[in-house]
C-alpha cells in the first residue's frame, strides 16, 4: 500500500510539472487514474488488499461453548436466562457443521423416559419433561411461531426376562420414590393391554404413564437456538483446533507435583480456509458430544503420566448406532409405546402411516467402525429383525424403507453423563458423555451447567454425583437401563 504522504508528494510534483507545460489528454487520463488509486489506498475507502472473513468470531468473549448441538445451545440459553444484568455474559457457540450432518442431536430417535436406575438421571429427565411441557413459556420468541415439539405421549415399555426382573423391580421403587409415574405389568396384564406382543420369556414389564414418549429433536434444537440468539448469543461456524493455555505447578501434600492448566484462548479455524481467530475467553464449555474426548486431548492430557489425576483422559468416544425405518401395514396401532426388549432391541411408531423406527444395541465385541456414518444393512437382518419378529409377530412381514446411522457420545467409563468442571483444567466445564440419553436430559443438564458457571454451585438439582470426581476416583456409577 502506498503511503499517503508519498502519493501527495508525487501528485504535487506532477501538478507542478504539468502546470509548466500544456497537458496531453493521455497523460491527463493517467493522472486521473493515479489520483483515484491514491484515494482508494487511503483508509476510509471500500478497497482493501485483503478481504477479512466476515464470519470470524469476535476476538474476546466471556464463555465459549464448543459444540452447537442441543446440549451446547441449551447451556447458552440458560446462561443468558440466568445472567442478572443485560448483556452480562458474552457467549459464543462454536459449531463446525451448520448442516448438522453428523451431529448426534438430529440423528437421534428423540425419546424421553424417566425409567433409569440412577436417581440423578431420573431427576434430569423429569426436569426436562417439565421444561418441555412449558416450552413456549421458556423458549417462545415474540412475533415468531410457537414451538411445536410434536411430542407423542405414548410412554416407554421395558420388558425384562427372569434374570433381570429383580433389577427392574428395584429400579421401579427408585423411580417411584423420585417421582416418576411408572407402573409394573405382569405378562397377563401386558397381553391384555397390548395384544400384539408375544409375551414368551417376559417376566415383568415396566410402563411409563406420564412424561414419557418421543419428540422432534430438530425442533428442540432450533427452539433453543432461536431463543438464545434472540437473547444475544453469537453463533460461529468454525472448528476448534487448538488452545492456548498457561500452566502452573503446585505440590500436593504427598509431595507430587500437580500441573494446573488454565485456558487463555481458543483457536477457531474457519471451514474451507486457512483463516483462524484466537478467541480470548474466561470459560470454555465442552459440549462437543461424540468428539469431546478428542477435543480434550488437545489440552495435552495424554502427555501426563497415566495414573495421575492430570493424566486421566476424558473417557468419551463416538460409538455408531443404526436406526432403520420399516413399514408394516399390520403393525401395532396408535398406542404403540417405545418398546425396549431385554435383548437390546427397540422400536417405536413413527407417524400415522404404519411406519416404525427400530434398532438394537450391538454387543461390546461387535462395535461398528466409527470413521463414517455408513449403514450396515446386514446388521438389521442378523440382529434386529429376528428379535423384532419374535417379540411382535406382525413384524414378520415388513419392508425397510430407510435407515441412518448416528454417533453416541459414549462414556466408556460408566455410560452416564459427565457434568461439571475438570479438576486440573481450571476453566473447562463438561456436559458430555451421555451415551444415548443426552437429548432427553439436555434442558435440565444445560441449567445445571449454567448454575455451576454463574452461581458456582448446583442450585435446583444436585449433579455432583455426575462430576469428574467419580472418574478420578475410579468409582463408576453404573446405569442399569442403558440401550
Amino acid at each position: 500500500m502506498e503511503c499517503p504522504e508519498g502519493v501527495l508528494l508525487l501528485l504535487s510534483f506532477t501538478a507542478i510539472f504539468f502546470s509548466c507545460e500544456h497537458t496531453v489528454p493521455e497523460l491527463e487520463a493517467q493522472l486521473a487514474a493515479m489520483r483515484k488509486k491514491a484515494a482508494d489506498a487511503l483508509p476510509g475507502s471500500s478497497w482493501s488488499p485483503f478481504d477479512i472473513n466476515p464470519n470470524l468470531p469476535p476476538e474476546r468473549a466471556d464463555i465459549v461453548i464448543i459444540g452447537g448441538g442441543v446440549m451446547g445451545w441449551s447451556i447458552a440459553y440458560w446462561l443468558k436466562q440466568k445472567e442478572r444484568v443485560r448483556e452480562g455474559v458474552k457467549v459464543i457457540v462454536v459449531e463446525r457443521d451448520l448442516t448438522y450432518s453428523q451431529a448426534s442431536t438430529v440423528l437421534s430417535a428423540g425419546g424421553i423416559r424417566q425409567q433409569f436406575s440412577l436417581p440423578e438421571n431420573i431427576h434430569l429427565s423429569l426436569a426436562s419433561a417439565d421444561f418441555m411441557r412449558n416450552i413456549n413459556e421458556h423458549l417462545g420468541v415474540l412475533n415468531e411461531d410457537p414451538v411445536d415439539l410434536q411430542f407423542n405421549q405414548s410412554g416407554y415399555l421395558f420388558l425384562a426376562s427372569e434374570e433381570v426382573a429383580h433389577i427392574m423391580e428395584e429400579n421401579y421403587s427408585t423411580q417411584r420414590q423420585v417421582g416418576a409415574k411408572v407402573t409394573l405389568l405382569s405378562p397377563t396384564q401386558l397381553k391384555e393391554k397390548f395384544p400384539w406382543i408375544n409375551t414368551d420369556g417376559v417376566a415383568l414389564a415396566s410402563y411409563g404413564l406420564e412424561n414419557e414418549g418421543w419428540f422432534d429433536p430438530w425442533s428442540l434444537l432450533n427452539a433453543f437456538r432461536r431463543k438464545a440468539m434472540s437473547m444475544g448469543v453469537i453463533q460461529c461456524c468454525g472448528e476448534v483446533t487448538d488452545f492456548k493455555y498457561t500452566v502452573s505447578m503446585m505440590t500436593s501434600p504427598g509431595g507430587d507435583p500437580v500441573v494446573y492448566k488454565r485456558i487463555n484462548s481458543v483457536k477457531v479455524q474457519m471451514p474451507k480456509g486457512l483463516e483462524y481467530q484466537m478467541v480470548e475467553c474466561a470459560i470454555v464449555v465442552n459440549a462437543a458430544g461424540a468428539f469431546s474426548g478428542k477435543l480434550a486431548e488437545m489440552l495435552g492430557i495424554s502427555s501426563n503420566p497415566k495414573d495421575t489425576i492430570a493424566g486421566t483422559p476424558v473417557p468419551v468416544e463416538p460409538r455408531k448406532r443404526y436406526i432403520y425405518v420399516v413399514h408394516c401395514p399390520d403393525g401395532p396401532g396408535l398406542d404403540t409405546p417405545f418398546l425396549i426388549d431385554y435383548s437390546g432391541m427397540y422400536f417405536r411408531r413413527e407417524g400415522l402411516g404404519g411406519n416404525y423406527i427400530t434398532g438394537a444395541s450391538p454387543k461390546e465385541a461387535d462395535e461398528p467402525d466409527t470413521s463414517n456414518l455408513e449403514v450396515d444393512h446386514q446388521f438389521f437382518e442378523d440382529s434386529v429383525w429376528p428379535r423384532l419378529a419374535y417379540r411382535v409377530p406382525a413384524f414378520e412381514k415388513l419392508k425397510v424403507t430407510s435407515a441412518w446411522a448416528g454417533f453416541y457420545d459414549y462414556n466408556t467409563f460408566d455410560q452416564n453423563g459427565i457434568i461439571g468442571d475438570h479438576p486440573v483444567i481450571n476453566n473447562m466445564y463438561f456436559a458430555t458423555g451421555f451415551s444415548g440419553h443426552g437429548l432427553q436430559q439436555s434442558p435440565a443438564a444445560g441449567r445445571a451447567v449454567a448454575e455451576l458457571i454463574l452461581d458456582g454451585n448446583f442450585k435446583t438439582l444436585d449433579m455432583r454425583g455426575l462430576g469428574f470426581r467419580r472418574i478420578m476416583a475410579q468409582e463408576p456409577i453404573l446405569e442399569r437401563n442403558i440401550l
Partner: protein
Amino acid sequence: MLLSWRGQLRRKGIMRKNAYYDFTQRLYGSDIAAAFYILSLKGGFRFVGQSDWFRADQRGKFNWDFLNHKDTPLEEVDMSYTVINYRGLDNLEGQQSLRTLALRGCPEVDDWFLARLHVFEDSLEELDISHCPRITTGGLAALRNLKGLRRLDLSSLPGISSPGLVVILLEEMLPQCQIIATGYDYSIKQHGGEEEVQR
C-alpha cells in the same frame, strides 16, 4: 416488552387460578376442595348419589350448599370453556369415582393434560374434549390408558392434521369406545398440482 408482560400476566393469572387448594383440602377434605376448585373456575359438578348439579353462573357466584355434602366423591364434572390446565388436575386427582369429564372448548387443555388423565383410568366412562385448540395426535395416543372409556367426543379439534385416519386408529385402540367426531371435512382433496406437471 409490554406485549411480553401482558402475556406473562395472563399466564400468571391462569396459574393462580389453577393452584392447589391446599388450605381447603386440609380443612374440608379433598372432595370439598375439588368441588370448590371447580366452582371457582366457573365449572359444574354432580356428587355421587345426588341428581342435581352445582354450577357457578356467569359472574362466578354459586350456591354454598355443596358444603353440606362432606366426603361425597364427584361423579360428573363439567369444566367446559374454563381455564383448567395441567396444574389444575392436582385438585381433581383423588376422585376415584369420576365417570364423566367434559372439557369442551378449554384453551389450556393440551397433550400433557391428556396424559395425566391416566389417574382416572378405572372409572372414567365419558370424555368430551371437542373444540380444544391445543390437542394434537400425540396427546390422543395417551388416551390408551382409559380402558373404561365408552364415549369420546373429538369434534372440531383444530390441532389434528388427518382426522379421518386418527379416528380410525383411535377406534382400533379403544374398541369398546364410541367415538364422536363431527365438524371435520372428510372429503378427499383434489390435487391441483398434478395438471401442472403433466403439461
